[in-house]
């Protein structure tokens, strides 16, 4: 580890802290409807779509709208991918996307997962990338923020189960937040050298005389929303390790910053909307503590390197001419600190963009992204998804605190009773049930094992990572697992749908149930949700719930691999 590396991590943390308040205030104004600088466009959208913007929807109607919008847009994407060969903007004359991949991709992008079992440059036409994948990058992110805001409204008000208007939240999130920010970020990426064109691929002759096709395309515009919307699906197969997608240390920094900007600001929105700013900062602090723990572990493990390499004479010490540590699978222009930081950020959030190969991390370094995903991606998390995931943990925390002191738990003046806990437990249990069941089936079936390129605990980690990543709507791959089969395309596509919608529904139900309750004044027995004790308890609940659920599987994967690495065995 180097001072330079730590300083870069520190600067990043400061930026994430500093953006929370100004962007948070902007988000509050977007979702309370007071911001109107794009009013004419907004009203035109409502008129064309037949939306009654004044309707305050019951949570069931809000959830119904979200589901209908998702199924319609998913089926449209499936259709376009299957017909891309006859659609315009296809200068490479790429064939139709195979049925299994079209299903997985449409499910994956609809759910903000962006798991990709294809190389973007060799499978997707410009038309598919721009009209479908980029479209989902915007709207799936806007849906996530909308659900988080609906949840916060549920906490903040007494409104007979009404949590806002899904169509208004979706439109305003896209129009006022994601589109303007993406345009600015895309221009910054172009300035750094990210390409943006519609040219056919360039055919060049290499120095060795071989012919090579250099992929082109409208990359910068997709890259911006891919990061801001915590989508993560790369234009190119190599994702953010590709020099046309992430060419410089600055583009790398903007990419990482863009992932955490909105999730960090949403904690401020929470505080402002529930009229308890200290609570917003307490949630931010809990997220930050978990983030620092993850990035420190990943950086330490990767900078320490592989002792087997050292035993064979590889110099692992850092010097002016040697990065040291474990550089396998890492871009030299980013180095260990920025690879460990990127891997932690992208899996804390449900982004999934990668600038290094997580499969090539040391066992403990690779455990960090896997564990981040399995904690439910509540550490800042995906846009919206991170906040509502963390708020479920907050509900569980106040419930446990209430049990400890023998009082009916309260959260910001709302009594937490049986039905709220039932919804919270549905949210908490569906996630591991999907991951562990599907991983176990895949570890037993020949179709599941056929996709493996590594044996032993590393192979198990690859399967576990794939199902964790898709259920958590992350989308990053550990690599090493061949996912382009009917079995994996179908199972992983289904897993993205379960991980998104089977968890969003109880979340909205919980919001609706909270919105039905009257707000009781705080008393001496109310557990305060603004203190360091609350932060410690919240962090403990997140870690303990994650550990109790996934530790046995992790013990069979990266933990045993780490112990075997110490004994001189690699996988």
């Amino acid at each position: 580890m180097t001072l330079n590396g730590w300083l870069q991590i520190l600067v990043y943390c400061l930026c994430v802290l500093l953006v929370a308040k100004p962007l948070g205030i902007y988000l509050v104004r977007v979702y309370d409807g007071s911001l109107t600088w794009l009013g004419p466009i907004e009203r035109a959208v409502y008129r064309v779509c037949g939306v009654d913007a004044t309707e305050d929807q019951h949570w069931t109607r809000y959830a119904g709208g979200m589901l209908l919008f998702s199924v319609a847009s998913m089926l449209l994407t499936y259709l376009v991918l299957r017909l891309q060969a006859v659609l315009p903007l296809n200068p490479q004359h790429l064939a139709a996307v195979p049925d299994r991949q079209a299903f997985e991709t449409s499910a994956s992008f609809t759910t903000n997962t962006n798991w990709q079992s294809y190389g973007g440059e060799s499978v997707m036409s410009y038309f598919s990338q721009m009209t479908q994948l980029a479209f989902h990058n915007f709207v799936s992110a806007a849906v996530g923020i909308a659900v988080a805001v609906a949840f916060v409204r549920g906490i903040a008000r007494k409104s007979a189960g009404r949590v806002g208007n899904f169509w208004v939240d979706l439109t305003r999130g896209t129009l006022y937040v994601l589109l303007p920010m993406s345009i600015i970020l895309a221009l910054m990426f172009v300035q750094q050298g990210v390409i943006q064109n519609f040219r056919p691929y360039a055919d060049v002759v290499t120095l060795e005389g071989a012919k090579q096709a250099i992929a082109m395309g409208p990359v910068a515009s997709q890259e911006a929303i891919k990061q801001l919307g915590t989508n993560g699906g790369g234009f190119f197969n190599a994702n953010a390790a590709h020099p046309f997608e992430n060419p410089t240390p600055w583009s790398n920094f903007w990419s990482m910053f863009a992932i955490f900007m909105i999730p960090s600001a949403l904690t401020y929105l929470l505080g402002r909307m529930v009229r308890n700013q200290k609570h917003g900062w307490a949630v931010w602090t809990a997220m930050f503590v978990l983030f620092v723990g993850g990035v420190s572990t990943a950086y330490w493990a990767e900078a320490r390197g592989n002792p087997i390499h050292a035993a064979r004479g590889v110099d692992l010490a850092t010097s002016a001419t040697n990065p040291g540590g474990n550089m396998e699978g890492k871009e030299v222009r980013f180095g260990i600190a920025n690879s460990a930081l990127y891997a932690t950020i992208t899996t804390d959030a449900s982004c999934g963009a990668v600038n290094s190969m997580h499969d090539s991390f040391t066992p403990l370094g690779g455990l960090v992204p896997l564990a981040n995903i399995q904690l439910g991606e509540v550490v800042f998390g995906g846009v919206g998804a991170g906040l509502y995931g963390m708020l479920v943990m907050v509900v569980l925390t106040v419930f446990i605190a209430g049990l400890m002191v023998g009082r009916t738990p309260e959260y910001l003046g709302k009594k937490i009773q049986a039905r709220e806990i039932q919804m919270a437990m549905l949210y908490v249990l569906i996630f591991p049930a999907a991951i562990l069941t599907m991983s176990a089936i895949s570890a037993l079936l020949p179709a599941g094992l056929q996709g493996l390129n590594n044996a032993g605990p590393h192979g198990l980690s690859e399967i576990l990572y794939a199902f964790s990543s898709t259920a958590a709507n992350n989308g990053s791959a550990f690599a090493g697992l061949t996912g382009t089969t009917y079995y994996y395309n179908t199972m992983l596509g289904l897993n993205t749908l379960i991980g998104r919608f089977a968890m969003m529904v109880p979340m909205l139900a919980l919001a609706g149930f909270l919105a039905e309750k009257r707000i009781v004044p705080e008393s001496a027995g109310t557990f305060p949700v603004t203190t360091p004790l609350f932060v410690v308890l919240l962090v403990s609940v997140v870690v303990i719930v994650g550990a109790l659920t996934f530790f046995p599987a992790l013990a069979l994967g990266p933990v045993v691999e780490h112990l075997l690495m110490g004994a001189g065995k690699l996988f």
Partner: protein, 50 residues
């Protein structure tokens, strides 16, 4: 034959997607119903208190 098989798979994926979302809509109703039942139980137990 191969084309027919492919069309069948397209149909399976599309119908499977529709079935999943129909199930999710039923899930919304089930959660709402569970909430109503629990709400009545809470009111009843509160009414039982002296």
């Amino acid at each position: 034959m191969a084309t027919e098989g492919r069309s069948m798979l397209d149909l399976v994926y599309v119908l499977g997607t529709l079935a999943f979302f129909t199930l999710m809509l039923a899930y919304v109703r089930a959660c709402a119903a569970l909430g109503r039942v629990e709400s009545r139980n809470v009111e009843r137990s509160a009414a039982d208190l002296p």
